[in-house]
């Protein structure tokens, strides 16, 4: 603990101290990416591996730029809509369930195993059943996304809600704060870092779930496209589409990270 000096120079008002990111932090991933692509291309040409197993990165790029707009884009938009719709439902739903559960210890105890069960259940195993009940409607895919993303968001949020420091709860009690005041002013903001962990994982889980639904059935979506390209031995396009899927996950993840940086200004 540092000692107090009576008159320290106050920091500039209204400007939280920003942590500067070194330029190397931006350059490093790019260098790695270039190195991986180079190694990949070198390996393919040197080993003479069949293009059905591993096509060269340049072949993938060539094929993709030729077919992207016509063959990929409609499916990309379709899958993106499924992911975003499901995610948009899963976020408030997961937080709401966590908020309700956190009110009573007994409910936390009762629901936690169920939530974990849902987190670890790969929804791809459930998709044929859903199809059986509800047909091939795109709503089924959204439901799959919701079912996969909600539990992980809920689980992390719940952890945040239940790990409030005892002394802080006493602070609220010393002011005679109501249950609602305690939740709004203490428990929720205190849980925000964990909520964001849940939101980030939710992005990844949503993307995975949408792929699962595509692969299991239907005639639309990037997952369906990957399957089709594989069966037609269009390996370049299959790889390219997989990369697009990965890109969706990365972009969604980064968007949440950017929001997190704007919301969580305090250092823990």
């Amino acid at each position: 603990m540092t000692t107090t000096t009576a008159r320290q120079t106050p920091p500039v008002k209204g400007k939280p101290l920003k942590r500067k990111t070194e330029p190397i932090c931006y350059i490093a991933p790019i260098i790695l990416f270039v190195a991986v692509v180079a190694a990949w291309a070198l390996f393919v040409s040197a080993s003479g591996i069949s293009r059905t197993i591993l096509p060269s990165p340049f072949a993938i790029f060539r094929e993709m730029s030729k077919n992207f707009v016509r063959d990929i884009l409609p499916h990309l938009l379709f899958t993106l809509r499924v992911i975003l719709t499901g995610y948009a439902v899963a976020v408030p739903l997961g937080i709401l369930i966590a908020a309700v559960c956190s009110q009573y210890r007994i409910i936390i105890k009762a629901t936690t195993p169920l939530i974990i069960l849902l987190v670890v259940t790969p929804m791809i195993t459930m998709v044929p059943l859903f199809m059986l009940w509800m047909g091939f409607d795109s709503k089924v895919r959204v439901i799959v996304v919701i079912l996969q993303a909600t539990p992980i968001i809920c689980l992390n949020t719940l952890t945040g809600f239940t790990t409030t420091e005892g002394a802080k709860l006493e602070l609220m009690r010393a002011m005679g704060a109501t249950r609602l005041q305690t939740f709004v002013k203490l428990i929720f903001p205190n849980a925000l870092p964990q909520v964001f962990t849940g939101l980030k994982l939710g992005c990844i889980f949503s993307t995975i779930a949408a792929m699962s639904a595509d692969l299991a059935a239907g005639k639309e979506g990037l997952g369906y496209r990957i399957q089709q390209y594989s069966s037609l031995i269009m390996t370049e396009m299959a790889y390219g589409t997989i990369l697009i899927v990965a890109l969706i996950g990365i972009v969604l993840f980064q968007i949440v990270v950017m929001i997190e940086r704007r919301v969580i200004l305090w250092v823990r």
Binding site: M1, T3, T4, A174, G176
Partner: protein, 296 residues
């Protein structure tokens, strides 16, 4: 209670701004006890039949060995814990089950850790009690600025707690406890988490604030020097279960309570006496085999 027979306790009670003891006590505790559920399923008596009257403009210091239930006692006064037995009264109004939530705006509570909300700036931390008490309206900005000036942090309003030093954070915490203008300020070892130099400096700061605001203050501490500097009345609790072992008026005159207090003869005498008493209580607690936990 042979300690109470000591000549010190027979000294007339004279708080600064004398004559105050004629008015009735603001806060009264009548045989207040607190049981906790012990880990072995039994009950642990933390506070045993403590009776105490807190008078207007009085500064009470509660000393005691670690695990003497002194924090529990203070938390019952501040409505954080409910007493198991006994009644409490606030300005003549009697409460059987602890101080109710709607009376808590009469109190400000300072914790050992600063307990600031890390996601709120200094100003917004001070706003918290006003929000909870639904008085964060017109004039609250002025009130917050006034409090920050009182603790000497007027330039730090827009700063987050993690950007402040430990001593500064505790001063913010003190300002927060006073921002809703409570009658009684309860402090649970407010300087306990600070280093020695900051601690000494802040204890004098506390004396200045106490004189400036003339609020009723009850402070739990494990530091005899602080108690003698600040307290008009000093209580010593026994080891668990905590009950009042000794009570004395601090007759070191107000004008002698400054940086030079350690040179004061009365201070030296009282210090030696209190040291003996607290030490004896710690020993008694240890020989009784009541170990484990801090009990606070």
């Amino acid at each position: 209670m042979n300690w109470c027979d000591h000549k010190l306790s027979r000294l007339p009670f004279e708080p600064p701004g004398s004559g105050m003891d004629r008015s009735g006590p603001i806060l009264t505790l009548d045989k207040v006890s607190k049981y906790y559920e012990a880990q072995n399923g039994g009950e642990l008596l933390a506070v045993k039949e403590v009776s105490l009257g807190v008078r207007d403009r009085e500064f009470i210091c509660i000393l005691g060995p670690t695990a003497s239930g002194k924090s529990t006692l203070l938390k019952m006064m501040g409505g954080i814990e409910k007493p198991t037995l006994g009644t409490m009264s606030l300005r003549g109004e009697i409460f059987e089950d602890g101080i109710p939530a709607n009376k808590l705006r009469n109190f400000g509570f300072v914790f050992q850790q600063d307990n600031l909300l890390p996601w709120r700036t200094v100003v917004k931390n001070l706003r918290l009690p006003l929000e909870v008490f639904h008085s964060a309206g017109h004039g609250s900005a002025d009130r917050i600025a006034e409090m920050l000036t009182l603790v000497g942090l007027q330039d730090y309003g827009d700063v987050y707690p993690h950007e402040l030093s430990g001593g500064m954070r505790q001063r913010v915490s003190l300002a927060r406890a006073m921002v809703h203008d409570p009658d009684i300020l309860l402090m649970d070892q407010p300087l306990g988490a600070l280093d020695a130099i900051t601690r000494r400096m802040l204890s004098h700061e506390l004396l200045r604030i106490s004189r400036a605001t003339r609020k009723v203050m009850v402070m739990v501490t494990n530091n005899i020097d602080e108690a003698l500097l600040l307290g008009d009345r000093i209580l010593v609790l026994t080891a668990l279960p905590g009950e009042i072992a000794f009570e004395a008026a601090n007759d070191i005159p107000a004008e002698a309570r400054n940086e030079a207090i350690i040179e004061n003869a009365r201070y030296k005498a009282l210090r030696a006496l209190l040291d003996d008493i607290v030490h004896a209580q710690s020993e008694a607690g240890r020989t009784a085999g009541r170990t484990g936990g801090d009990g606070e």
